[in-house]
Symmetry: C2
Subunit: 237 residues, 2 copies
């Protein structure tokens, strides 16, 4: 899993986990720039090695992704993406104009707070009514994103290639589809999100189907959700 | 409430509310740069005019701060601060080096998620045990920030002047003090946060005491917390 040469021989290492939507953001940013990097999978099956790596590289939050460049760790997915964009200037991920940059940051944060974080929260919920209410709010947020994409009138938020907002919005591809299936809730609807429907096809094609496979995500999220249900069971009896 | 001339005669307008910690971040960034701006107070006492302004300038989130520059709105406090820093290059708020910028963004987000958001959540809680648990977590997060400031060995995270992290951390001044008093919880402790104790003094002096007055915050937060308690009362009876 490597790019096409970073042209300067500097070591770039990415600590990740295959299913994480946050780690994948960094993968695409690196590949957009054509940067060679080493992928280090922090397997869930080797918790000891995993905690040692995280304690060393991300002692405050102890989570992936971690990008190690020139021996120094950079953490938090959107912070890493901006770091990559400011370090390697070819193929910009953010627009160059300050106002356009602010708009991109706004929408990336909007998607994170109103869609990505809600999806992850959904997996921990056990009350079906609350689950459906949260899903409805995420669906409404996605409608707002759909209108914004329509107003923009481009293939991607980044124009003809993907940018910061597209990288954040990637959650609505395989991840959201898997979570909807596991929880039997519906967020995406091609009638209320027609632009997003087309965007999904374009995005998956643009990243060359470099996504965690949906069947793998289904298995993983199903197990995760069941463990959450099991852990609250005693107090509900 | 204005700066010392932005040198280019462009209209800069800030829509805010006096007590908001998020709005104040923008005030300091503008004043650091010496930018003339018009302050537009969106009073809580005039909800009609307030909603009209917010619908016009921030239709997606409908909240302050909103910075209007050249007739275009920029929203979300940290996004606005970065916009100001990228638009007016004097007196940098973020470091210039990409790695240092990533570190500053990381800590600003850390303070937001682990301290600022927790403080605001505390005001909506009614269960004392939960309140104390959340306060304890925020206090631990502040210990981590204290260690980082010690490791940095400077007056501010920004060095000799305030930067992005200091602007985010401002929440621990009058706002946190008022919330601790209203809820009778304790987060800040000069024994476990000795560097933050000194930082608070330095910060308040640096911004020339340009903070919402503590007695005003006390009154506002007390009323706010009581309205939250009242609104959950029926279901708890």
């Amino acid at each position: 899993m490597a790019g096409h040469g970073n042209g300067n021989g500097e070591e770039v290492k990415l600590l990740g986990i295959w299913f994480s939507p946050y780690v994948r953001r960094v993968v695409w940013a690196l590949e957009l720039k054509g940067i060679d990097y080493e992928w280090v999978e922090l397997s869930f099956r080797d918790p000891k090695n995993r905690s040692r790596s995280l304690l060393e590289h991300n002692p405050v939050l102890k989570r992936v992704p971690v990008l190690v460049h020139r021996g120094r760790p950079v953490v938090e997915s959107l912070v890493i993406v901006e770091y990559i964009d400011e370090t390697w200037r070819n193929n910009p991920v953010l627009p160059l104009d300050p106002y356009e940059r602010a708009v991109a940051r706004f929408w990336a944060n909007f998607v994170d707070q109103k869609i990505t974080e809600v999806l992850i929260k959904l997996l921990s919920l056990t009350d079906k009514t609350q689950m459906e209410e949260e899903a409805k709010q995420a669906s409404k947020a996605l409608e707002i994103v759909d209108r914004e994409l329509k107003a923009k009138g481009k293939k991607f938020f980044g124009g003809e290639t993907i940018g910061l907002v597209d990288i954040a919005l990637s959650i609505v591809t395989n991840w959201m589809e898997a979570i909807e299936e596991v929880l039997d809730v519906r967020i995406f609807d091609s009638r209320t999100h027609p632009l997003i429907a087309q965007w999904k096809t374009n995005f998956v094609e643009f990243v060359r189907h470099n996504l965690p496979p949906k069947d793998g995500l289904l298995r993983f999220y199903r197990r995760y959700h069941q463990s959450k249900i099991a852990s609250v069971a005693p107090s509900r009896l």
